[in-house]
């Protein structure tokens, strides 16, 4: 069942179009990530769903009800903010109970929900502390606690992990995901970090300049990027987008359909799909070698173009070496050079 539906939503500030005909659905119990670079409109989308902004046109439905102009309090959602938005003068306990008191939930019920949330999040020893005396991860947990006690089944998260350090971020990623699944929450999760989106989300919506670039599962986005932008945004290092020049065509024309030109087409190939070959492929010169432990990133050049590949572990290559690179036909992604859209694979 679709819990959240956006239909033709536009948001315009002055002459800046923040969102352009956004359409999507989010299913019940799903974790949907809104992914994109900063300023792409992902936070705006979330704020529209929360009711902190109203769309210029279009409608927003929650559980089949048109909520486009309903105030946030009546949408039955909870929200976790990027800076947690904890009330600095209130204790952890009061912060968590803030909304329940505002909604005049009876004391016994409040106590029950608090105990439950505190238990889930391991906050029991921190209840009387104020936010200033908590670490980033603990503050994050309090913000989550506030969302959990609301029991609103829909939780909106605006870059909740962006203020945490890398190690903590990974822990919280798993914790949020498991909470979401245990409490069967429908969650919309805004992030600019593709790793967060890929690891946590059931589905990802990739947004660029107020337009949805692609909506699909992590596998869809990785294996079948619909646009050059999606291809470059997902995956680390990003997909190589190459112009099919004479060098490239000489090596790979047999794998490609006719009529491929540098003006009309782009060829995409993921760094991890490239192999070093003894006999056939394209000749390149190694420009950079970055050893990362598990694998090594090798930056190469042919003609005017650069191409990056990754290989397992350490190897004996040196900068300035000439090697031959090869890849399989089904690892080729073909894009239209003008529109940037994916073309039917060969």
């Amino acid at each position: 069942m679709d819990v959240i539906t956006l239909k033709d939503v536009d948001k315009i500030w002055g002459n800046f179009q923040a969102l352009n005909h956004v359409n999507f659905q989010c299913k019940e119990g799903q974790l949907l990530a809104l992914l994109g670079p900063s300023g792409c409109g992902k936070s705006t989308t979330l704020r529209l769903i929360a009711g902190l902004e109203t769309p210029t046109s279009g409608t927003i439905e929650i559980k089949g009800k048109d909520v486009t102009f309903l105030p946030p309090a009546k949408r039955n959602i909870s929200m976790v903010f990027q800076n947690y938005a904890l009330f600095p003068h209130l204790t952890v306990k009061e912060n968590i109970l803030f909304g329940l008191k505002a909604r005049k939930v009876p004391v016994t019920e409040r106590r029950k929900r608090l105990a439950n949330a505190v238990d889930l999040l391991g906050l029991s020893t921190l209840l009387d502390r104020k936010p200033a005396h908590l670490s980033g991860g603990q503050r994050q947990r309090v913000a989550l606690g506030r969302a959990i006690v609301a029991q609103s089944s829909i939780c909106l998260m605006d870059e909740p992990l962006s203020n945490l350090d890398a190690k903590l971020r990974q822990e919280m990623r798993q914790e949020i995901r498991s909470l979401q699944q245990r409490l069967d929450m429908t969650m919309i999760y805004v992030t600019h970090d593709q790793v967060e989106a890929m690891t946590m989300a059931d589905e990802i919506i990739l947004i660029k300049d107020g337009n949805i670039e692609q909506h699909g599962t992590a596998e869809d986005l990785y294996n079948r990027p619909e646009t050059i932008f999606a291809a470059k945004f997902i995956g680390s290092p990003p997909m190589n987008i190459l112009s099919p020049d004479a060098n490239l065509m000489k090596a790979f024309s047999s794998m490609l359909p006719d009529g491929i030109t540098p003006e009309s087409h782009r060829i995409g190939v993921r760094p991890e799909d490239i192999q070093i070959s003894e006999n056939r492929g394209i000749n390149v010169e190694i420009e950079t070698i970055e050893y990362l432990g598990a694998d090594t990133m090798i930056g190469c050049r042919f003609g005017e173009q650069r191409i990056t590949m990754t290989v397992k572990g350490k190897n004996r290559l040196h900068i300035g070496d000439h090697i031959t690179l090869d890849w399989k036909p089904d690892h080729i992604h073909l894009f239209d050079a003008q529109s940037g859209r994916r073309l039917k694979n060969i």
């Binding site: 946030p72 929200m79 600095p88 505002a102 506030r146």
Partner: protein, 296 residues
């Protein structure tokens, strides 16, 4: 040895040298006068024929029996009790009103603030006209609705309240600026979180905005109380303490005692009492409000 000595003491010497000009100024013009005032309060007022002599607490026992002193003191308390909370409430209300995006915002802010930039003497002159019997602003308005002429400042029962209204009008805009600055320090995310949690405006104000503004409230309250005791310029222009001391305030009484009656030692005694009252009120405000304040 020598370098260690320099290391240890040079910092202190340096620090004292840096604060010396300020210490000198404050000692000369604040601490020294307070001490000499206290000293003079134990002496009689000297004249050419009868030089000042030590009389112990005689000035203080006279003060306890001085009806005018008790009158001006009660006037002053009434004046403070009315002006301080009302000014603060109005200042907070105005700050909340102008802390948002509305058309003509700067104009509203400016108009709220403009009474502050006028000198008290000018304000008193303007309000003197407002209160003028017969053709003053208030009487003209009243007359339009069929009311009678009033001698606002000449009436024992209305005179002090006339001054109170004017003082509130004058200082609320000034206190508003502090509240406005404090409100802009509060992250807008908190408001959004409150809204998303289902908090209504009043609930949010009571649980979040007001507590977060407490440091400002303390600051403003102390200033307002002190102001209500030490700003008496308007009395000179409007009532000169009359009628029958109905509007006289403590500092104005001190001024009269010292420079109209030339009884400088009794004026010193009154001054000591004024300083004590302000010190006690400030300490009480600090200790009672401090407990409830969350500092960022």
């Amino acid at each position: 040895m020598k370098s260690q000595f320099r290391h240890r003491y040079w910092n202190h010497i340096n620090g004292w040298l840096l604060v010396l000009p300020a210490v000198f100024m404050i000692s000369m013009f604040t601490h020294y006068p307070i001490i000499t005032t206290l000293y003079h309060s134990f002496f009689s007022t000297g004249t050419a024929a009868h030089p000042a002599k030590f009389i112990g607490l005689e000035n203080y026992s006279y003060l306890l029996k001085d009806e005018i002193f008790w009158k001006v003191l009660s006037n002053n308390f009434l004046y403070s009790v009315c002006t301080v909370p009302i000014s603060i409430a109005i200042a907070l209300g105005m700050a909340l009103l102008v802390n948002r995006n509305i058309k003509g915002l700067s104009l509203i802010r400016m108009s709220f603030f403009s009474p502050t930039i006028l000198p008290m003497i000018a304000v008193a002159n303007i309000w003197l006209f407002f209160y003028t019997p017969g053709y003053g602003l208030f009487d003209q308005i009243l007359r339009a609705f069929g009311g009678n002429s009033h001698n606002w400042l000449g009436n024992l029962h209305t005179a002090l309240f006339c001054l109170i209204v004017m003082a509130i009008w004058k200082q609320s805009g000034f206190f508003m600026i502090f509240y406005l600055a404090a409100l802009q320090q509060i992250s807008p995310e908190l408001k959004e979180a409150g809204v998303a949690e289902g908090a209504g405006s009043w609930y949010y104000f009571r649980r979040v905005t007001f507590p977060l503004l407490m440091p400002t409230t303390l600051f403003v309250a102390i200033n307002a109380v002190i102001e209500s005791f030490i700003l008496v310029d308007h009395l000179v222009v409007m009532t000169k303490g009359g009628p029958n001391n109905a509007t006289s305030l403590l500092l104005y009484y001190i001024y009269e005692t010292a420079f109209s009656f030339w009884d400088s030692s009794y004026a010193a005694t009154l001054t000591v009492v004024l300083v004590l009252i302000l010190a006690v009120i400030t300490v009480i405000q600090f200790t009672t409000m401090e407990k409830q304040i969350h500092y960022q």
